[in-house]
């Protein structure tokens, strides 16, 4: 029951979308396409890297380069792409299961390293693709949810924002800022799964879910303040929690890795010389 036929745009193919009616991921996809265009990025220079899940199906709707990887490993793949060619605009995307369950190890280490990557996490608090089991971010009864924003902040992400699929303009603006951030930027996108999930805070079934706007008057460089916002109980917050700059991961800077045969012979001969043994 595809939602709608996407219009062919710079970033989006035409054809049926793969998501259920009302799925937040479809909205996130639209917003991403708009933000990419607004940031002046061309499909040819963009690589969108995902894991596996309903959210990761965005790769097949895109007209850019993309990797639809394996579940939970989008970040290492993306880091490899960016290291090999730092000129590319690399966007990582996927579900909360991908990011916070099977893939959280990579998330922490990417946050620590601070490469110039933007990660869009489509958080429906569940594993949509496998029929809606609660994910680590799921808020319900006895289940203790992972404070994903808090973990990101603690791990060293330099840009942490949260948006909601049902507030597209704000989401687009935040994604735009993330794309411009010199370092690892994460936008956690509350993106309801109307088919399976009836969780707290993001469930559109009960009308438009409430969110709390963070506003921008606070000191964006104050990590403890950002953490206090992330930890606050009640309806989820939306907005930019934290933004600082620190040195980016050196490996993903510099120029593209190319194998240029005309230059390398001399260097290789010198390498061989290092290991040379001559009878004297």
């Amino acid at each position: 029951m595809p939602t709608a036929v996407h219009a062919r745009t710079t970033f989006s193919r035409d054809g049926d979308a793969p998501w259920c009616r009302g799925c937040g991921h479809a909205d996130v996809f639209d917003v991403l396409c708009r933000a990419l265009v607004a940031s002046g990025i061309r499909p040819t220079d963009a690589v969108v890297v995902t894991g596996v899940g309903c959210s990761s199906l965005i790769t097949f709707q895109l007209r850019s380069y993309a990797m639809h990887g394996v579940h939970g490993r989008a970040l290492p793949l993306a880091l490899g792409v960016k290291a090999a060619n730092p000129d590319l605009h690399v966007v990582v995307a996927g579900g909360d299961g991908d990011a916070f369950s099977i893939g959280a190890n990579h998330l922490i280490h990417t946050a620590r390293k601070n490469p110039r990557l933007t990660y869009l996490i489509m958080d429906n608090q569940s594993y949509g693709m496998t029929m809606g089991q609660p994910s680590p971010t799921n808020v319900h009864g006895e289940h203790h949810a992972l404070n994903a924003l808090g973990v990101l902040l603690a791990a060293g992400a330099t840009f942490v924002a949260q948006a909601a699929s049902w507030r597209p303009d704000e989401a687009e603006a935040l994604i735009g800022q993330a794309l411009g951030h010199p370092g690892f930027s994460v936008v956690n996108l509350l993106s309801p799964c109307p088919t399976f999930h009836h969780g707290e805070g993001i469930d559109g079934a009960i009308g438009i879910p409430l969110v709390r706007e963070i506003g921008s008057e606070h000191d964006l460089g104050d990590r403890l303040h950002a953490l206090s916002v992330a930890f606050a109980e009640g309806v989820p917050c939306v907005g930019l929690l934290y933004r600082v700059e620190r040195p980016m991961y050196a490996l993903t800077e510099g120029s593209a890795l190319v194998h240029e045969q005309w230059e390398e012979t001399a260097i290789l001969e010198a390498l061989l010389d290092e290991h040379r043994v001559v009878w004297t």
Binding site: F60, V70, A84
Partner: protein
């Protein structure tokens, strides 16, 4: 040392057994971690190489970071060497703990050199063994380099057997330069102290001398792991990712210094999955990429190996095998990852498995690994092992001009919309890289159509599976390095893969010496199996015998599965390399 002995340059060949029928000298250094066995061995190896000799060494240490036994054995010869030997001429004990396990290797006339600090009275050893106690620890202390008893031992070896003191000095200076003048000076004093002690206190009672070297063709001295790094660079590798694991780590160490010289990058990942993910991502973006690991990390990579195969991304995965399963024996030798390399990832996964047989192969088979990965756009697994990793060998300097480097079939922008996985005769489809207009596509592990769109239609899966396997159909004709040696027809035909090659070669020589017609085949591409070469070989011999260092006879099984050959199996899985004697001395082989 008595002048008359030193002036004799010919290597005196006593009445030795068949395994000693050659002109080489074998020195084994033993100690526990911290004794400097490895350093002394490497210095002696380099010194001998600088003297114009062929040198081949074998080293092993314990999994314990400290306290375990370390062994370094080097064999020097004026002519070609294929193993570090299955006998020993001279044993140097830097620590008494290291003695016990190996004493039985000593025969009448062999030499035992040891640090007399441990024993007031010379310790028990087999009768007929010539033993020289040397107060190495005291001599080191006297030289002002308390921990340099290994260097003292080098001085002793030089003086007693004729290793070149000058060359030892050259090698030592190079290694110690960074530590400052004082360290260099005290070590050279230790070296001199060892030599002087021999002159002043010892009478040579053995019959060993280093053979005399001569000018050789351009030669390089490399460990297997360095050779793999070198091969990778030659093949155009510009990205290496890894997570530390013994015995693969030294590839990363070598590349960390050398990759950047060629504008390449090396990345230490957070785990094995990440390291392969990084390499696949880099390759997708256009770089030739490799990751390196050993068994436990290799297990973790299986899912992404399947992904690379499905998404048709070239990538080289180096597995420097250690003894398994699980954490196993982390520093020990085994060739038991073949099954997991060939069959490891779930589903029908086309991929290629290669194994170098010696240090020379470590260079050239690694180049081939990249060439095949790029040519066929799939994961290539390179199976090295703990023996190759640590051994040093003087090999002919690789001729860069002669090395053929293959690049992937590039995407050519043309009128038609790009179809990344379109069907072709060879199964190989042109591959674009991000940044190329018109080449946009999704690399996906889902089954997909020619234009990379997911499809679970029955026809698609069958056709795409065939397309991916089609790439391998011509492999054996296009490239499948395999060496054969021995008489054109023989009663026994040995098949060996990876580093058992050395022992098998040496065994073949011995069989030849006693007039037994034994041939051998050394395939370097193990999977897809070189069926034609194996079948032809099998037809030329009476009985095929597969020699390998694992319990299940893994390569024998792979051969039996895909050919009509019913091989016999020689399997050893002791955690140490197989020797020529393990083959030559095995009665059942030839009966």
């Amino acid at each position: 040392m008595p002048e008359d002995l030193l002036s004799s340059t010919a290597w005196p060949l006593g009445s030795r057994q068949l395994n000693q029928l050659d002109d080489s000298l074998i020195v084994r250094l033993m100690g526990v971690g911290g004794d400097g066995v490895m350093t002394a061995g490497r210095v002696l190896t380099e010194a001998a190489a600088l003297s114009g000799l062929e040198v081949l060494s074998e080293a092993t240490c314990s999994a314990e970071v400290r306290g375990g036994e370390t062994m370094y054995q080097l064999r020097v010869s004026p002519s070609t060497l294929v193993t570090a030997g299955d006998r020993v001429d001279i044993v140097v004990l830097l620590d008494h703990e290291a003695d016990l396990a190996h004493r039985e290797d000593l025969l009448t006339g062999d030499v035992l050199l040891y640090d007399s600090v441990h024993d007031a009275v010379p310790r028990a050893h087999p009768p007929g063994v010539v033993s020289y106690p040397v107060p190495m620890t005291q001599l080191a202390e006297a030289a002002g380099a308390a921990i340099a008893k290994n260097v003292v031992a080098l001085g002793v070896l030089a003086e007693l057997f004729g290793f070149s003191l000058t060359n030892i000095e050259t090698s030592l200076r190079k290694r110690l330069a960074a530590k400052g003048g004082h360290v260099v000076a005290s070590n050279l004093a230790a070296l001199a102290g060892g030599a002087r002690y021999v002159k002043e206190h010892l009478v040579k009672r053995d019959s060993f001398l280093v053979p005399v070297g001569s000018a050789r063709d351009e030669t390089v001295l490399l460990t297997g792991n360095e050779a793999i790094g070198l091969g990778a660079l030659m093949a155009g590798c510009r990205f290496y990712a890894h997570y530390p694991i013994t015995p693969a780590t030294s590839v990363a160490d070598w590349l960390a210094t050398h990759l950047p010289l060629l504008g390449g990058k090396i990345c230490a990942a957070e785990d094995g999955m990440a390291s392969l993910g990084l390499a696949i991502g880099a390759s997708y973006a256009g770089a030739k990429a490799m990751t390196g690991t050993s068994g436990p990390g290799f297990d973790l990579m299986q899912e992404l190996i399947g992904y690379a195969s499905m998404a048709e991304v070239p990538v080289v995965i180096l597995d420097v095998q250690r003894a398994g399963p699980s954490t196993g024996l982390p520093t020990k030798y085994e060739q038991a990852d073949l099954f997991s390399a060939v069959y490891g990832a779930h589903g029908d996964v086309p991929k290629i498995v290669l194994a170098p047989g010696d240090v020379h192969d470590c260079v050239h088979v690694t180049v081939e690994a990249f060439n095949l990965a790029e040519r066929y756009q799939l994961p290539v697994i390179l199976l090295s092992d703990a023996s190759l990793a640590l051994r040093e060998h003087t090999i002919p300097r690789p001729d860069l001009a002669a090395i053929k480097v293959v690049d992937r079939v590039p995407f050519q922008p043309d009128q038609a919309p790009y179809s990344r996985y379109r069907f072709t005769d060879s199964g190989v489809s042109p591959m674009s890289a991000p940044g190329q207009p018109g080449g946009e596509y999704v690399a996906t592990g889902l089954e997909h159509t020619g234009s990379a769109f997911p499809s679970d239609a029955p026809g698609t899966h069958q056709a795409m599976t065939d397309k991916r396997f089609q790439k391998l159909a011509r492999l054996e004709d296009e490239c499948s390095p395999v060496e054969r040696e021995g008489p054109p027809s023989a009663a026994v035909g040995l098949v060996s893969w990876g580093s058992t090659q050395g022992a098998v070669r040496e065994a073949v020589r011995r069989f030849d010496a006693i007039g037994m017609p034994v041939a051998a085949l050394y395939p370097k591409v193990l999977w897809p199996l070189p069926v034609k070469a194996l079948t032809a070989f099998a037809r030329s011999v009476g009985q095929v015998v597969v020699v390998e260092a694992n319990r299940q006879g893994q390569f024998a099984d792979v051969i039996a599965a895909s050919t009509s050959i019913r091989p016999k199996r020689v399997t050893l899985y002791r955690g140490v390399p197989l020797t020529a004697w393990d083959i030559f001395g095995r009665e059942s082989l030839t009966h």
